[in-house]
C-alpha cells in the first residue's frame, strides 16, 4: 500500500514539475488573467502539497478529476481503454505460457540434443529482438505479403494474434530459459530418481514430480513480466494501433493531461500490487513450505 502511495506521489509531483498544461489549452496570446483563471479552474494555482491533499480527498470519494483534454472524468477515459490493454496482456501471457513452458520442459528433458540446442538458440534470439521490430516484421509477413491477418487495430481475434505474439515473445524466451535450468536442477534431485524407482513413466515423473518444483521460479518472473506488460505494452500498442492504456498515457503526457496520467498510472500500480499478491498466493499453493503472511506494504 505504501508503495502505491509512493507511486502516486511521485507521479503527481513530476507531472506538475513538468510544466504548465494551460499553455496547451488556451489559444496563444491569451491574457494573463485568462491564464490565471484557467489555472484556478483546473486547481493548479495552489501549492503542490495542497493540490495533493485535494487529490487524495477526491480519491476517497471516487473523484479522480476531469481530463483536461477529453473533458470527461479522467476515470472514465482510463477505464474505457483498460479492457483493451487487459485483453492484450492476457493474450500475451497466454502466448508466453503456451510457447515458453513446453519449450523449457522439452529442452530440459532432451538435454544437449539438437532439439535442446535449437530451443536455446531460439530463446536467446527471442530475448534480443526489439518488440517493435518483431511487430513490424510480423505485419510485413502476415499482413502485407500473405494477407492472412489485418495490419492493425482491435476487433476480432485475428487482430489480437500478432500483437500478442510480439509482446509475449520476450517473456516466452525468458520463461523457456529459466524453466529449462530450473528443471535441470530439479531433475537431479533424489526424489526424481525415487519416483522412477517406483515404476512411474518418464512423462509422469517429469510432469508430476519435476515440474511442480521447477515452476515456482518461473511464476515469480512471470508475475513481474505481467506487471510490466500492463504499462509497457506501449510500444506494441503503438505499432499495432491498439487502443490501450499505454498509448493513452503517452498521448496524455504529450497533452499535459495530468489527471488522466495520474489515474492511469494509479490503475497500473494497483494492478501491479494485485498481481504480486496473486503470485504470492500461487507460490504458496505450489510450495507447502511457504506460508502466507500478511503483507505489510
Amino acid at each position: 500500500m505504501i508503495v502505491l502511495f509512493g507511486v502516486t506521489l511521485v507521479v503527481f509531483v513530476i507531472l506538475r514539475l513538468s510544466g504548465d498544461p494551460v499553455d496547451l489549452y488556451l489559444p496563444p496570446g491569451a491574457s494573463p488573467e485568462m491564464v490565471e483563471r484557467y489555472r484556478e479552474a483546473l486547481g493548479l494555482s495552489e501549492s503542490i502539497p495542497v493540490q495533493y491533499a485535494k487529490f487524495l480527498q477526491g480519491l476517497f470519494s471516487g473523484d479522480l478529476g476531469q481530463s483536461y483534454y477529453y473533458n470527461e472524468p479522467a476515470l472514465d477515459v482510463v477505464l474505457e481503454r483498460f479492457p483493451a490493454t487487459l485483453e492484450l496482456t492476457a493474450a500475451s501471457v497466454l502466448v508466453t505460457i503456451i510457447i515458453g513452458v513446453p519449450a523449457g520442459i522439452v529442452a530440459a528433458v532432451m538435454r544437449n540434443s539438437k532439439t535442446d540446442y535449437l530451443i536455446r538458440v531460439a530463446a536467446l534470439l527471442g530475448q534480443c529482438v526489439p518488440v517493435f521490430w518483431i511487430g513490424i516484421i510480423l505485419i510485413i509477413i502476415f499482413a502485407v505479403k500473405l494477407h492472412w491477418l489485418p495490419t492493425s487495430g482491435r476487433g476480432t481475434w485475428e487482430h489480437l494474434v500478432m500483437p500478442a505474439f510480439a509482446l509475449g515473445l520476450y517473456s516466452a524466451a525468458t520463461t523457456a530459459r529459466l524453466l529449462r535450468s530450473s528443471m535441470l536442477e530439479v531433475m537431479n534431485k533424489e526424489y526424481v530418481l525415487v519416483a522412477r524407482a517406483k515404476g512411474l513413466s518418464k512423462a509422469k515423473v517429469v510432469l508430476k514430480h519435476a515440474l511442480k518444483n521447477a515452476i515456482s521460479a518461473v511464476i515469480t518472473v512471470l508475475g513481474l513480466h505481467i506487471a510490466g506488460l500492463l504499462g509497457g505494452a506501449i510500444v506494441t500498442e503503438t505499432v499495432f494501433a491498439w487502443p490501450g492504456i499505454g498509448r493513452l498515457i503517452v498521448q496524455s503526457i504529450n497533452n499535459r493531461d495530468f489527471t488522466v496520467v495520474q489515474t492511469a498510472v494509479m490503475l497500473i500500480a494497483l494492478c501491479y500490487v494485485v498481481i504480486n499478491l496473486l503470485v504470492d498466493v500461487c507460490y504458496a499453493l505450489i510450495n507447502p513450505r511457504v506460508k502466507l503472511h500478511g503483507r505489510g506494504g
Binding site: K189, E190, Y191, L193, V194, A195, R196, A197, K198, G199, L200, S201, K202, H209, K212, N213, I286, N287, P288, R289
Partner: protein, 328 residues
C-alpha cells in the same frame, strides 16, 4: 542355486569418460536366494550403488553401456524394455535410498506419494489405495497414520521419513527390496530402529533384501550372506559368519582390521595402503594387487577367477593352486 531369486552374471557397466571407456562394474556375479538378505559391502566408488541402479534398469543407455545378464525369477532384466521394467519397479523389486531428506518430493503429501505407487501397480480405487496406504504406515510403526497422510515431508523427522520410504517401497509387496545405504544418513539410535524394522518386515512379507552399505556393523546385523566389492568386482562372497571368522581375501581382511573394536586396544587403526583406483585407471591382473600386502608376480599378470574354497567364493590367487608355483 536353484532357488535363486536373482542371478547376476558377468554384469558389466561401462561409462564414457574423457579418458576413454571405463568399466565401473566389471563382470560382477552374485546370487540372491528367496528370503535371504545379501549384504553388498565396499568402499565408496566400488560400484555398489551402481549395481542397484543397474538391476532396476535406471541407467540411461545414452550414458552407460550395460552388458551381462540379470536373471530375476528366470527373466533377464537387461533384455526388457523400459515399459516392461516399469511394471517391475516398485512392484516386484523396490528400492530405498540413502537420504530420507531428499527422497521424498517436498511439494506433495505423504499420502499422495504413498498412494501413487499403489494406484500405479494395483489398479484399485482411490479409497482402497488410501486404506492400504494407511495400513502400510501402520506396518512401519508410524503413529497416527491417518494424520500423517495429509502431512508434508518437511513436517516429519529423518527417521520417520525413512520409514515412509520403506512403506512406499513395500506397498506393493515386492519380492525383493534393494536397500542402498538406508541407515547411513541417520543417527545411530534411529539406525538401530530402521534395521530392526527391515528385519521384521522381511519375515512378515517373506522378501529378499539386498543390503548395500559401507558399514560392516550394519551388514553384520542384517545379512545372511555377504558380497565384498572392490573396483567394480565381487572379490569375496560368503555367508556372514565365515566373512567375520575366516575372511579369505586380503581386502576383506583389511576392511575388518580397519574397524575400531571394543575388545582390542589398538594404538593406531590399521589402514589399507593406497586408495581405490579410478575406473579408467584400473591395474592389470588382479585389481587389488597394488595395495595387497601379499602380492606376487602372478597377481600383476593375470586376473584371478572366482574360486570356491570350502563353500566360500573368493577371487584371489592366494587360494589357487598356482600360488605356490614359482619361477625359481
Amino acid at each position: 542355486m536353484s532357488d535363486a531369486l536373482l542371478q547376476v552374471k558377468d554384469l558389466t557397466v561401462k561409462f564414457n569418460t574423457p579418458h576413454g571407456k571405463a568399466a565401473a562394474i566389471n563382470r560382477l556375479s552374485f546370487d540372491v536366494r528367496k528370503g535371504e538378505i545379501v549384504g553388498i559391502v565396499g568402499e565408496s566408488g566400488c560400484g555398489k550403488s551402481l549395481t542397484s541402479r543397474a538391476i532396476m534398469g535406471l541407467l540411461p543407455p545414452s550414458v552407460a553401456e550395460v552388458s551381462g545378464s540379470i536373471l530375476f525369477d528366470g527373466d533377464d532384466l537387461l533384455r526388457k524394455s523400459d515399459k516392461e521394467m516399469r511394471k517391475i519397479r516398485g512392484n516386484e523389486i523396490s528400492m530405498i535410498f540413502q537420504e530420507p531428506m531428499t527422497s521424498l518430493n517436498p511439494v506433495y503429501t505423504i499420502g499422495n506419494q504413498l498412494m501413487e505407487t499403489i494406484l500405479l501397480h494395483q489398479g484399485v480405487s482411490r479409497k482402497e489405495a488410501r486404506e492400504r496406504a494407511i495400513d502400510m504406515l501402520k506396518l512401519v510403526h508410524i503413529p497416527s497414520p491417518e494424520k500423517r497422510m495429509k502431512q508434508y515431508p518437511h513436517e516429519l523427522s529423518g527417521g520417520m521419513r525413512q520409514r515412509v520410504m520403506i512403506a512406499i517401497a513395500l506397498s506393493c509387496n515386492p519380492k525383493m527390496l534393494i536397500a542402498d545405504e538406508p541407515t547411513t544418513a541417520l543417527d545411530v539410535t534411529i539406525q538401530a530402529e530402521i534395521i530392526d524394522l527391515l528385519l521384521e518386515l522381511k519375515e512378515k512379507l517373506s522378501m529378499s533384501i539386498i543390503m548395500i552399505s559401507h558399514d560392516l556393523g550394519v551388514i553384520a546385523e542384517t545379512a545372511d550372506r555377504v558380497v565384498v566389492m572392490y573396483a567394480g568386482q565381487a572379490v569375496e562372497s560368503t555367508d556372514i559368519d565365515s566373512i567375520f571368522e575366516r575372511p579369505l581375501h586380503p581386502y576383506t581382511q583389511g576392511l575388518l582390521k580397519a574397524r575400531p573394536t571394543l575388545e582390542e586396544k589398538k594404538e593406531r587403526l590399521e589402514t589399507i595402503e593406497g586408495s581405490v583406483p579410478n575406473s579408467h585407471e584400473l591395474p592389470a591382473g588382479c585389481k587389488f594387487h597394488t595395495r595387497c600386502p601379499f602380492g606376487r608376480p602372478i597377481c600383476a599378470a593375470r586376473e584371478p577367477g572366482l574360486l570356491e574354497v570350502n563353500g566360500q567364493g573368493v577371487k584371489c590367487w592366494m587360494h589357487a593352486k598356482e600360488w605356490n608355483d614359482h619361477d625359481e
